[in-house]
Structure formats: C-alpha cells, structure tokens
C-alpha cells in the first residue's frame, strides 16, 4: 500500500501572498501519478493539478504549480497570488501506473486572510 503524508494540518496566508503545501509519499513503484485536489467548504472535490512521474518538468496550472522531487519522493504545491477563493482543504494523492486506486494524504486546511 502506498503512503501519502501531508505534515501541515493547517496553514494561513495573506491575500496575494504565496503559500507552499508539502507532501511526501512512499512507494517502490517507478511509474506513477501524483495529484492535488482542492475541497472548498462546499465539500466538492476539485482536481487542481496532476504530475506524471516520468516527466521531469513540474506541472503548472495558472497560479498553481508543483515542485516534484522524485528521488526525495516529495510533491509540494505552491499557490501564488492567493485569493480568498483558495480557502479550502487540499489533498495530495498518489496512483501507481499499474493500479486503479487513488491514495490520499490527510489534507491541509488553507485559510486565505483578507
């Protein structure tokens, strides 16, 4: 079983500032996918960004970017120019290429202050 660890239960950031969420994972697989999902107070689960392990280039989606360090098994999410609508819980998730199951971390609650 894969283990995904998010060591920061809560984070707070001022509007327009940058915040970085950490995620580490444990796997013996070489090919896999990593994801960040956002869950706002509405409870909806929204895919933010996806990274394929065989791609060295870090994924970027608008204000969201990742720092993928394969050797360190680290996958952090950076939110730039934070907006009030970014207030949510963020989940890191892992899926091996030869598996059909997504494993989640415990989540990090991000609060953006006006």
């Amino acid at each position: 079983a894969q283990t995904v660890t998010q060591s920061q239960p809560e984070m707070s950031v001022q509007e327009a500032e940058t915040v970085t969420l950490s995620c580490t994972y444990d796997t013996s697989e070489n090919n896999y996918y990593l994801f960040w999902y956002k869950q706002p107070p509405s409870r909806q689960m929204i895919l933010v960004i996806r990274q394929e392990a065989y791609k060295q280039q870090n994924a970027t989606e608008n204000r969201f970017s990742v720092n993928f360090q394969k050797a360190a098994k680290s996958f952090s999410l950076k939110i730039s120019d934070s907006q009030l609508g970014d207030t949510a819980m963020y989940f890191c998730a892992f899926m091996a290429s030869n598996d059909y199951k997504l494993s989640f971390g415990a989540g990090t609650t991000v609060t953006v202050r006006a």
């Binding site: 409870r43 689960m45 996806r50 059909y100 989640f104």
Partner: protein, 114 residues
C-alpha cells in the same frame, strides 16, 4: 462538472439499520469508486468497480458491500450501520482507472449513525 449524482445528500439513521447509498453517472465511465472522508484520515477507499458486476475491496471495506448491475449505477450498502460508519461518503468515476484519466468526484453524502 462530471455527471455524477449521489443520493441522498444527507442521511441520519440508527445503529443496526441497513443503509444504501447510490451513485449515478452519465459519463459511461468504466471505473467507479466509493471513498469515505474522516478528519485526520483524508479519503480512504472502501470499494471500487472496474465494470458491471466487477468489484474489488479497498482498504476499509469491512462492514460495507457494493453492487454494480448497470454501468451508470454503483451502490454502497451498510448491512448494519454502526456509529463508526458516521462519515462523509464520496463516489468517484474514472474513464480508464489510470492516472491519465483522473478521478472525478460526486458531491458526497453525509451519513450520521446515531
């Protein structure tokens, strides 16, 4: 939004009663999943399905059963509900079950067992 409907949205039930949660999709995706979300644990996989009548267990399957008689419907049954099954339940779908076809989630069902 991916065409996923979970019903009911909220349910309160008593210990020992059977409960069935329904997930309906209009995307004709092959893979369907049931997760539960609890504080400090993120989302944990209960069961998943890789086709009609094809299902498999996840990491927290004890006390739950599933059925998939049609592509579009995936039912989760608690045979005899317990207080430990109080949780938010999410259904998810994926076209291929692979990381290049990320999971899309329904809006969740909040179940309270008293």
């Amino acid at each position: 939004d991916a065409g996923i409907t979970q019903s009911p949205r909220h349910k309160v039930t008593e210990t020992g009663t059977p409960v069935t949660l329904r997930c309906h999709q209009t995307e004709n995706h092959r893979y369907m999943y049931w997760y539960r979300q609890d504080p400090g644990h993120g989302l944990r996989l209960i069961h998943y399905s890789y086709g009609v009548k094809d299902t498999d267990k996840g990491e927290v399957s004890d006390g739950y059963s599933v059925s998939r008689s049609k592509t579009e419907d995936f039912l989760l049954t608690l045979e005899s509900a317990t207080s430990s099954q109080t949780s938010v339940y999410f259904c998810a779908i994926s076209e291929s079950g692979q990381g290049n076809s990320p999971l899309h989630f329904g809006n969740g069902t909040r179940l309270t067992v008293t």
